[in-house]
Amino acid sequence: MDFTLSKEHEMARALFKEFSEKEVKPLAQEVDETETFPRETVEKMAKLGFLGIPVPKEYGGQGCDPLTYVMCVEELSKVCGTTGVIVSAHTSLCCDPIMTYGTEEQKQKYLIPLAKGEKLGAFGLTEPGAGTDAQGQQTKAVLDGDEWVLNGSKCFITNGKEADVYVIFAITGTVEKRGRMQKEISAFIVEKGTPGFTFGTKEKKMGIRGSSTYELIFTDCRIPKDNLLGQQGKGFNIAMHTLDGGRIGIAAQALGLAEGALETTIAYVKERKQFGRTIGAFQNTQFQLADMATKVQAAQMLVYKAAMKKAEYASNPKVSYSVEAAMAKLYAAEVAMEVTTKAVQLHGGYGYIREYDVERMMRDAKITEIYEGTSEVQRMVISGALLK
């Protein structure tokens, strides 16, 4: 067992770090304060291939492994949680299902521009009445000649109005399963600008305020028959499998937020003086930092392990990374919340002020315990596998 990163991964990390420090960090506070989607940063990332890191080169991507992608989200999130989730939602929730389930035509038409960053992707599963209970969907798709007609709405969609390509889930019928009638869910690719596809309200959020979170509305929205993603009726499996990957991305975002808060706090406690000493000289501070660093390190191991398990899946589709992804997200998200909260505490009154980055990091961290499967859902996934 080797815990050292390869030279390639070390260099990739250095690249992501340099980019984050130079291009992302200077904007983080403003992006949060003004709730502005960092379009220019997204364009810069597109140019450097950051929007297609794990996509094979023949489909316009960088051909790297999931670990490289995870390190990108981690480094971006260290300085800006908003930028981290933009890349994560685009890559894990839109590129990945098209790469995994798309036809060759769909890959040519959608995956290539997505991986090159010419287009941005999003994913629509959640509905007002269907969060953790994905089966509670109401959005319907009916086949009418050569077109599917979509009606319904999706809420809390990351990259909402800014995306160009959306992976959308809808009910396409009912099926009998173990004597009970169940909704048959299918996945579709929907392009922005399709008549009948509009946007509802923009959500005002506690954190990741620069990320564009919108309601998507479908009113007799007609899409080509060929835009069905994967087999009809396999939508639920596609959604769950996609979220397994998405959770690794969010785990990386949570990890980055925790690392960012820890680094910021270490620098702060070396400067801040009380009672004639830096607060880093007090044992309380030292013990808090030791606990924070230990948990961050443990979270990193879980996140990297999940990414490596996903890499195994690439060569052997029988491998499941569902439990590893759930553990990584559960732990990293809770560590992010704990570490950012402690970071604010160690900053004292200044930590509560917007001018200080830890205030934003704490607000950004909370969502990692909620989206792409709450911490409770992760516990269900993990225990479900234990008690199978």
């Binding site: 390639e8 690249l15 291939g49 950051f50 960088q62």
Partner: protein
Amino acid sequence: MKIVVCIKQVPDTKGGVKFNPDGTLDRGAMLTIMNPDDKAGLEAALKLKDQFGAEVTVVTMGLPKAEEVLREAMAMGADKGILVTDRVLGGADTWATSTTIAGALRNLEYDLIITGRQAIDGDTAQVGPQISEHLNIPVISYAQNIKVEGDSVIVERQFEDRYHVVKAKMPCLITALSELNEPRYMTPGGIFDAYSKEITVWGRADLKDVDDSNLGLKGSPTKIAKASDKVRKGAGEKVNLDPDESVSYIVGKLKEKHVI
């Protein structure tokens, strides 16, 4: 068009500086980066590659660990990397370095050689022009803008408060300023590609038309009497005075220290 860019791995000024007992830098023990002027030179070459489809080869001389800087250059877009490394070449000053690099470059075909103006560790600005002398080709130093027209280069050469426009026929050598451009980032895929490529490693035996007496520490006319890290200054003294009082205060201090 074939372009050779000479690059150097230098200590990262953010990290500490360490010395060998003989006063030369202990390069193995320090954090390193690609020398900023060299990186601008590489970017200029990569721009010409984008424009004309030039082939870009990067060359460095150093410890085996200097391979990293070649990989970085290749991850930015350079096509080939050559590492010149050999124990007998260690401790070289600018003369021995330029002799070594010229000996390596004699094995290559080139239209243009680009080096950085100077490295942030030695700050001599001598190696580039010396290489051109060894190879008997023209040099244009302090380039702040480079254009290629036909078989010539037209370079804006920085000069005090103005610049000269100098034209030279290729093959020639240009020394680049870091102000020349904003070097591109590597790409994630480029990094993995760079590590999958072979790096050519040359030793003393591969150098063409060079004499041993001009190589390494022994072949270096520069003798280092003493070297030390910069002495950390104290916190200093802060005073809050109005402008008139400030002038008298400063003049008083300068007199006290016998500066004036």
